[in-house]
């Protein structure tokens, strides 16, 4: 059944300034019937050629999910979601799994080209050594709807002992690792969406970095929602052993649609002694049109466990897309002296709603966490920072520093800060700073007098406001993120 109604040209007519990534790819799709029941889960599991334990795990999650209700506490509003009106499996139709890029459907590769994903890093593949400070090679695991299409650089990574593959493959090839860690950070029944994801997740990435290995390149996954009425439920699991490290980036786009699409991912990170994980997200899912029609519902559970002593997990996110964002990348700081970081820029424009923040759970002694959250609201949008810092009784010497800054553009938007602080240890130190400001006429006029257009001026001021976060992004993505911020705010002034 070919799923294609819009052509690239039709979308281009709508103008680049609205949503640059709103094209749909015309490729054959293998689509499960709408609705969610045990049969669909069995279908997904069998399409993925999963072992029996995986199916049981999914079914258990499904039964848990059936007894749960979607959370209502976030400051977002949307009509009830009909979970029986969604396709839970959509896969590009091809014969066997692709062995190399040559076997990948050319239409699919074209899509990635439009997205600017460097699948063809030929010079790098040929072994060109990057000099110091130059762009490092990036390995991409591209997830197209539910199936991971092509994974680059796997050979180089394999030589270093790093496993980087679609999670469906990991379930088959590395079942012991997956079984040990899957659901160990975000249990299936953690929340409504994690239960849903655990039941129906179709793909995602798996990363395993063995003891003492510094992953030789940035790992990157590009998610994209293509088919109509499909939910995307990807599952990512990253395990980094003692003394090892990895930097991982995910980017997201989706075609423009009138109806809303659900995206409920789960990301689990595990860091052992002296391990470090840097997880960066640039999220520009389709945010809906100016009147709030369409767009992605991004209901995501991301959590990292600093299990080992002196381990470190750092989340950096630049969130400009989605109609609704519900997302709290968190750190469980269990190992003594472990470090959790959360750097976030959330931009909302038009009718977007974002309720995002983090949780830092201090369990171990001398654990440290830093939260820098920058919120930018424009149009009629609403943005909320919601964060929890919890210091448990044993976490002596724990320290947290939180800084939340909100920037308002125009007078019809809202910004809200909801920090929760629970400190159960007298020897801990928790700091919270918050500011709210507007881009002033003085600043805009000053920039324009120097020759900058109004939009360039806003871009410059906003990028300045976000600098503390943007500098945490890997170099090559920081530039992209800056451009994205500017595009997201186009037309928000004047």
């Amino acid at each position: 059944m070919p799923v294609a109604t819009e052509t690239k040209e039709a979308v281009e007519k709508l103008g680049q300034s609205t949503y640059k990534w709103g094209f749909e790819t015309d490729i054959e799709m293998d689509l499960a019937p709408k609705g969610l029941n045990e049969d669909i889960i069995r279908l997904i599991s069998s399409r993925k050629e999963e072992p029996g334990w995986m199916l049981e795990w999914r079914l258990a999650a499904f039964r848990t999910w059936q007894s749960m209700e979607d959370p209502k506490w976030a400051k977002v509003s949307y009509p009830p979601i009909d979970y029986q009106d969604i396709h839970y499996y959509a896969a590009p139709r091809s014969k066997a799994g692709p062995k190399s890029l040559d076997e990948v459907d050319p239409a699919l590769l074209k899509t990635y080209e439009k997205l600017g994903i460097p699948l063809h890093e030929q010079a790098l593949l040929a072994g060109v050594e990057p000099g110091e400070g130059e762009r490092l090679p990036v390995a991409v695991d591209a997830v197209f709807d539910s199936v991971s299409v092509a994974t680059t650089f796997r050979k180089t990574l394999a030589e270093a002992g790093v496993i980087f593959c679609p999670i469906s493959e990991a379930i088959r090839e590395h079942p012991d690792l997956v079984r040990r860690y899957l659901g160990s950070v975000v249990p299936a029944g953690d929340n409504f969406y994690s239960a849903l994801n655990s039941a129906v997740f179709t793909d995602g990435s798996f990363v395993y970095v063995p003891k003492g290995v510094r992953c030789p390149m940035e790992l990157s996954t590009y998610f994209r929602i293509n088919a109509r009425n499909t939910g995307q439920f990807e599952r990512t699991l990253i395990v980094v052993e003692e003394g090892a490290s990895v930097s991982y980036l995910e980017g997201c786009t989706a075609p423009m649609r009138d109806e809303n699409q659900l995206h409920a991912a789960v990301v689990e990170l595990v860091a052992m002694d002296d391990a470090s994980i840097k997880y960066s997200t640039v999220q520009n899912w389709y945010p809906g049109d100016e009147e709030g029609r369409g767009g992605i519902y991004n209901f995501v559970t991301k959590r990292g466990a600093c299990r080992g002593a002196r381990s470190k997990i750092s989340w950096t996110q630049v969130e400009t897309g989605s109609a609704i964002t519900w997302k709290y990348p968190s750190c469980i700081l269990q190992g003594e002296g472990s470090v959790g970081e959360f750097y976030s820029v959330a931009v909302t424009n038009n009718c977007q709603q974002a309720d995002t923040g983090t949780k830092m759970i201090h369990l171990g002694r001398n654990t440290r966490s830093t939260i820098i959250a920058k919120t930018i609201s424009a149009g009629r949008s609403d943005s909320t920072y919601r964060g929890l810092v919890r210091v448990q009784p044993k976490a002596s010497g724990a320290r947290n520093f939180t800084q939340c800054d909100s920037l308002l553009i125009g007078d019809k938007c809202g910004a809200h800060t909801v920090p929760y602080i629970e400190c159960r240890n007298m020897a801990a130190r928790v700091e919270h700073e918050a500011t709210t400001s507007k881009i002033s006429e003085d600043q805009l006029f000053y920039c324009r007098q120097r020759g900058l257009s109004e939009e360039d001026a806003v871009g410059l001021i906003v990028n300045g406001f976000c600098r503390d976060v943007l500098k945490e992004l890997p170099m090559e993505f920081a530039v992209e993120a800056q451009k994205l911020l500017q595009i997201s705010l186009e037309g928000s002034v004047g």
Binding site: S440, D442, Q443, Q449, R450, G451, L452, L460, G464, C466
Partner: protein
């Protein structure tokens, strides 16, 4: 050659807390190319408003009059178009831009203007070389290029930064709004030299000041006295010295 800047019967008002306040009441002023003119006048006479209206600040509503800049209708242009056309305003209170690197800001501005003027953009290396040289001639600390725009700058540093921007943007018409206020003698000289370096048959400036001191370094061609929203008196450089000694009172009563 026609006048470089031709202001005729300019009236402008501002909406302050719901109340219309007329500030400019028929300003007439002509500046030929290559000349430096000075506006002096008591506080509240409309000097800064004139500079804002010329630069295109939207809070002010022009209710009558016209401004021709090199034959173009200046009032019909957006602020950034005026900048591209060669107009530069050194602000009385330069604005802080937190998180925005000064060198980056300068380069963005210079390239925006160069683009609009059909000139080639400068790459980072070429620009930095230029900016460092300019900063050096203005006796600016080298780290000022790395700091955020005007954030944590002293009063004098902010004013020097304005002159640095002026130097790099190469305007054909500069307005200096009390750029000398609060400066010590050395800084004053630096500002004046910054303007003097730009002096050319194709460059003009309008300098708003209260003090004769700046004019010692900046030998002006004409002095205008502004009061109650209009130019009430114009004369040669000697007029400034006279005001410095005698104050405005005499001129105001004569004009009334």
């Amino acid at each position: 050659m026609s006048q470089f800047l031709e202001i005729s019967g300019l009236n402008a008002r501002i909406d302050a807390d719901g109340q219309e306040k007329q500030i400019l009441r028929g300003v007439d002023l002509s500046i030929p190319p290559g000349e430096v003119h000075v506006i002096m006048g008591p506080n509240g006479s409309g000097k800064s408003t004139l500079s804002y209206v010329l630069a295109g600040r939207e809070d002010y509503e022009v209710t009558a009059g016209s401004v021709l800049f090199k034959g173009q209708d200046l009032l019909a242009m957006a602020p950034e178009e005026r900048a591209a056309a060669g107009l530069f305003l050194a602000f009385q209170s330069p604005v802080e831009l937190p998180g925005v690197n000064n060198a980056n800001f300068l380069r963005t501005a210079v390239n925006a203007v160069r683009r609009a003027r059909g000139q080639e953009e400068l790459d980072a290396v070429a620009f930095l070389k230029l900016a460092r040289e300019a900063a050096k001639t203005l006796s600016m600390a080298p780290d000022m290029l790395k700091r955020n725009v005007n954030v944590g700058f002293s009063g004098g540093e902010k004013k020097r930064n304005e002159v640095l921007q002026m130097t790099l943007l190469q305007p054909s018409f500069a307005i200096l709004d009390e750029t000398d206020s609060g400066l010590d003698v050395d800084a004053l000289r630096v500002v004046a030299e910054g303007v003097n370096r730009l002096r050319a048959p194709t460059f003009s400036a309008l300098v708003i000041t209260h003090h004769q001191k700046l004019l010692d370094y900046l030998v002006p061609d004409r002095i205008h006295v502004m009061a109650r929203g209009r130019i009430i008196l114009s004369g040669g450089p000697e007029l400034a010295r006279q005001i410095d000694q005698e104050g405005y009172a005499k001129f105001l009563s004569e004009a009334a």
